[in-house]
């Protein structure tokens, strides 16, 4: 048990199994940093956790307005958990807009910590409020902890050389300190982080540390709360070394690892786009791993540069989100036609068009599987969570080089920006898949194929192997051909090659009985919610099984047999039923029931449980 060395630390310490906390404030209030710090500290403390950042696309939407509200939800637990939680136990609201936007999600009787310093007439006006929600009964039924954070921060920093405006910016660390006290978290990880973050501005380090400590002490001295809580470290995580991980970082690492396992230089062509940009940024910082990154002039140039790199014998990679995928489709066709390895990463966001750039959706699945001119098949893989993204990214690299094909790796906003503990893999356990370039001109044909259906990879610079290649249809020699039979044959080859990828991927495991009334079949970032929902349903005495797909095109082998033992297969997804359509097309004999949601927010466990019961009750 953590011992709190604070004067007057004699308030009761109550143990909780899990807590869901949501930080909400203006997008300039630093709520994402606050949430991430709480997450990191809880991870190091030894909790299991899951996070849900929820922020506007605008960097600084008009201050104090409802569209400008930025939120960060986190569940931390002494048990193995799968989701960031449906309803927060505690809401921290830094201003009126943050309060009214988030209050509806708070669980009945939950706690609201509210920054009363930000509830002046003008603040209420910005939030389009006629009355003060602190006084009009809005908060009836909740436990309200009023703290004038604005004033307390300035008090604490009275001796700081910073200007008032800069002092005010420290209020998120005051708030964080307050929450650290309430949930008995250590301050050290954040203090260390501040020293690193503001290395060049010691006065900022000092001010933020003072604010953090002032918040921590306030919880105690001012007796704002009736007591402290503690969420003990979990003993349910398997033994191993852990690290708190976000999806995009795991993908960036997986690309470095995948290219190394292929024996190739990874060359990324990318163009900044929310929420994929951090992959480009991370890889750009990995230059000492031999990574080459090019921030190109647009999405098309980004994929074309990656294809050019593959032509030269490197592993071409491009990362983007939905609108960027739309722009890249013609170039994907070139890589499919010329048969070059290429890893294409789509961090999906809500669409269509620009859609909602910072909100989650899984609506690019049909685009990934079918969205190109001509019969243009590519393997499609989807990450499910930050902790499987590393391994699946390596697998995308493997398929790309072994089958000489572009591979689309899907992720989404929830995985990209959500965090969870990642049990670090034993790197030695991965089987490398080194590429062997062909150098022997004897009897060589550009489109001769091996047992996987893949052509040989010859790189420029190899003597006596000069070839010309492109997007025009070509024959086995590599010469341009408009021959009818040849086009049929080449189309078949490309189709069969991608279908053959199924030979190299595992059949997903079933969670629960291998037959019954209902199978929940998910893909992508719904995995945690579906796992939780199935567990909850079982606690309620409902028999339901669950399976999660990571390799979506081609489907793994054995699905037909598994599906045949269930009366119904429910497919929850954050789109209008895209996987359901593919499943019905491929395996029309089964009873697929779509369950869709496109609000820009993940499913809630409760709504999935309700749907399960609803389906089973018929």
């Amino acid at each position: 048990m953590t011992k709190i060395e604070t004067p007057g630390a004699d308030l009761p310490l109550q143990q909780l199994e899990r807590v869901v906390i949501r930080f909400a404030g203006d997008s300039g209030d630093g709520m994402q940093i606050t949430g991430n710090q709480f997450t990191q500290t809880s991870a190091l403390f030894g909790n299991d956790l899951a996070t849900l950042p929820d922020f506007p696309a605008e960097i600084r939407a008009p201050a104090g307005t409802r569209p400008g509200v930025s939120g960060f939800q986190l569940q931390f637990s002494s048990k193995d958990i799968h989701t960031p939680g449906d309803a927060p136990d505690i809401l921290v609201a830094m201003n009126p807009a943050a309060l009214v936007v988030n209050l509806g999600d708070l669980k009945a009787g939950g706690t609201v910590v509210v920054n009363t310093g930000a509830f002046k007439t003008n603040d209420l006006k910005k939030a389009k409020l006629d009355k003060n929600p602190l006084e009009d009964g809005t908060l009836d039924g909740y436990r309200v902890i009023p703290v004038d954070i604005n004033a307390r921060v300035l008090d604490a920093l009275v001796d700081s050389p910073l200007k008032t405006k800069e002092k005010s910016r420290c209020k998120n660390f005051y708030t964080l300190g307050l929450m650290y006290w309430l949930y008995s978290r250590p301050l050290e990880p954040t203090i260390t982080w501040l020293h690193e973050k503001f290395k060049k501005r010691p006065e900022l380090v000092e001010a933020n540390v003072i604010a953090l400590k002032a918040g921590f002490n306030a919880g105690d001295i001012r007796e704002l709360f009736q007591g402290q809580y503690e969420v003990p470290k979990t003993d349910e995580l398997p033994a191993g070394t852990y690290r708190n991980m976000m999806g995009n970082d795991a993908i960036a690492m997986g690309l470095v690892a995948g290219a190394k396992m292929a024996g190739l230089t990874p060359v990324l062509g990318s163009y900044p786009i929310t929420p994929a940009s951090t992959i480009l940024e991370s890889l750009a910082s990995y230059k000492h791993f031999g990574v080459v990154t090019m921030q190109m002039e647009d999405e098309i140039a980004a994929i074309c540069a990656a294809i050019g790199a593959s032509f030269s014998g490197s592993l071409g990679i491009t990362s983007t989100s939905g609108p960027g995928m739309a722009l890249k489709t013609e170039a994907m066709g070139l890589a499919i036609s010329a048969e070059y390895p290429l890893v294409i990463i789509n961090i999906q966001r809500a669409g269509p068009s620009t859609g909602m750039p910072t909100k989650v959706e899984q609506s690019d699945l049909l685009q990934a599987v079918f969205g190109r001119n001509g019969d243009a098949p590519v393997p499609v893989i989807s990450c499910s969570r930050p902790s499987d993204a590393f391994q699946l990214t390596i697998d995308a690299c493997r398929i790309a080089v072994q089958y000489m094909t572009p591979v689309i790796l899907l992720s989404d906003n929830f995985i990209a920006n959500g965090a969870e503990p990642w049990c670090l893999p034993d790197i030695e356990s991965f089987k490398p898949f080194p590429v062997v370039f062909k150098t022997d001109p004897e009897g060589h044909q550009t489109f001769a194929r091996n047992e996987k259906g893949a052509r040989a990879w010859v790189k420029p610079g190899t003597p006596k192997m000069e070839f010309r290649i492109g997007g025009l249809e070509k024959d086995v020699e590599g010469n341009v051909s408009y021959d009818a039979d040849n086009h049929q044959a080449m189309t078949n080859h490309r189709h069969n090659k991608v279908a053959a990828v199924a030979e190299s991927i595992p059949t997903p495991e079933l969670d629960g009985p291998d037959s019954g009334d209902l199978l929940i079949l998910g893909w992508g970032s719904t995995v945690g919610i579906l796992t939780q929902a199935v567990e909850t349903a079982r606690e309620d005495g409902v028999s339901v099984s669950r399976m999660h797909l990571t390799h979506i095109w081609p489907f793994p082998k054995g699905l037909d047999e598994i599906f045949s033992k269930f009366k119904a297969i429910m497919v929850p997804e954050m789109n209008m039923g895209q996987l359901t359509r593919i499943l019905r097309g491929e395996m029309p004999q089964h009873n697929f029931i779509p369950f869709t949601k496109v609000t820009g927010q993940p499913f809630l466990t409760t709504e999935v449980v309700a749907k399960i019961k609803n389906v089973l009750e018929g």
Binding site: T241, R243, A309, G316, P460
Partner: protein, 334 residues
């Protein structure tokens, strides 16, 4: 060993086994022949040479060169070539494109490759027409061009490819003509020697859709008076008797006698001076400038990208996957 066995290649070693399928009389034939000969004469290694193209008549060029070749998608050759060259800076990379490919659909990529100064050579075949789609006006066609898609004449002003390249801060900018093999070869050699992006506009005859569009400039009967060749180290003079010259003035460019003519140095002339020359033929009575407009040194993109990687490796040591994964704040369970 004092005597290294070297095989001298001839033009035919650079001729691929593919049947050339341009229209009979197309200017592309002459450019192809000049390039194949230049490659042989300059001692190029076919295995180390890559031709990258986009889409259009000119973009079939790589199929006919017995080197490595990549026929990509419309307008994107500069982007593909960027990946090719950055992934392997040892390759000699040539981009073949046309006025539509480079300046319409691919205008963005052309601007950026010139800005970045990737160490490649770009050949832009300019015939002022869309050939492969059967004769629509192009972004270099003069205002009033009457073609199938502009029955009343085009109303949009054309690009001047040289001015475009200069505006993008290109480090090597030149113009040549398909019918003048000697001139072409000299420009190829200068472009090949230049470190950075070499941009060559080649006036090229489309005998089907824009036949002899350039005859008022390059026909033998008028050429001496209607073109002026910018030769580094030589005076800017023209005319059948080389009796007319050009000199820079405070307001731009002026005609003058041979004695007063400027000695041209594309490595020291300002962009403004090169730009002023590029605008000469906006007046139909003044000659069209050919030759080398600009040849200056600047940071080279592919080299710089690779240098950053090499410097990071030497500063931090070559990273291992274990170091990458097992970094940051870790904790142990069990």
């Amino acid at each position: 060993m004092t005597d290294t066995a070297t095989t001298t290649l001839t033009k035919k070693d650079f001729v691929s086994d593919q049947e050339v399928r341009w229209c009979p009389g197309c200017g592309d034939y002459a450019i192809l022949a000049a390039m194949q000969k230049y490659m042989a004469d300059s001692g190029a290694d076919p295995a180390n040479t890559v031709f990258v193209s986009g889409i259009g008549c000119s973009s079939r060029f790589p199929y006919y060169m017995n080197t490595y070749g990549f026929h990509t998608i419309h307008g994107r050759a500069p982007a593909v070539a960027t990946g090719v060259k950055v992934a392997n800076p040892d390759l000699s990379v040539w981009i073949v494109t046309g006025d539509g490919d480079a300046l319409s659909i691919g205008g963005n990529h052309l601007a950026h490759i010139l800005r970045r100064n990737l160490n490649v050579n770009i050949l832009l075949f300019n015939n002022e027409i869309y050939g492969l789609t059967k004769g629509q006006y192009s972004p270099t066609s003069p205002v009033g061009t009457k073609k199938k898609s502009t029955p009343l004449g085009s109303v949009d002003r054309p690009f001047n490819p040289i001015a475009f390249a200069l505006g993008c801060n290109a480090t090597f900018v030149a113009r040549s003509v398909d019918t003048d093999a000697k001139h072409l070869t000299r420009i190829f050699a200068a472009a090949d020697a230049h470190q950075g992006t070499s941009f060559i506009e080649i006036l090229q005859n489309c005998v089907i859709f824009n036949k002899d569009f350039y005859n008022k400039v390059v026909d033998r009967s008028v050429r001496a008076d209607m073109t002026v060749d910018l030769v580094p180290g030589e005076k800017i003079v023209y005319g059948a008797d080389k009796d007319k010259g050009l000199r820079f003035t405070a307001s731009g460019l002026d005609t003058c006698g041979v004695d007063d003519a400027e000695v041209w140095d594309p490595s020291t002339a300002t962009v403004s001076q090169a730009f002023a020359i590029s605008q000469l033929d906006t007046d139909p009575d003044t000659p069209k400038p050919l030759g080398i407009f600009r040849a200056v040194d600047a940071q080279i993109y592919d080299e710089s990208v690779r240098e950053q990687v090499e410097e990071a490796v030497s500063a931090k040591g070559e990273g291992k996957i274990e170091d990458l994964v097992y970094s940051g704040d870790c904790w142990t369970v069990g």
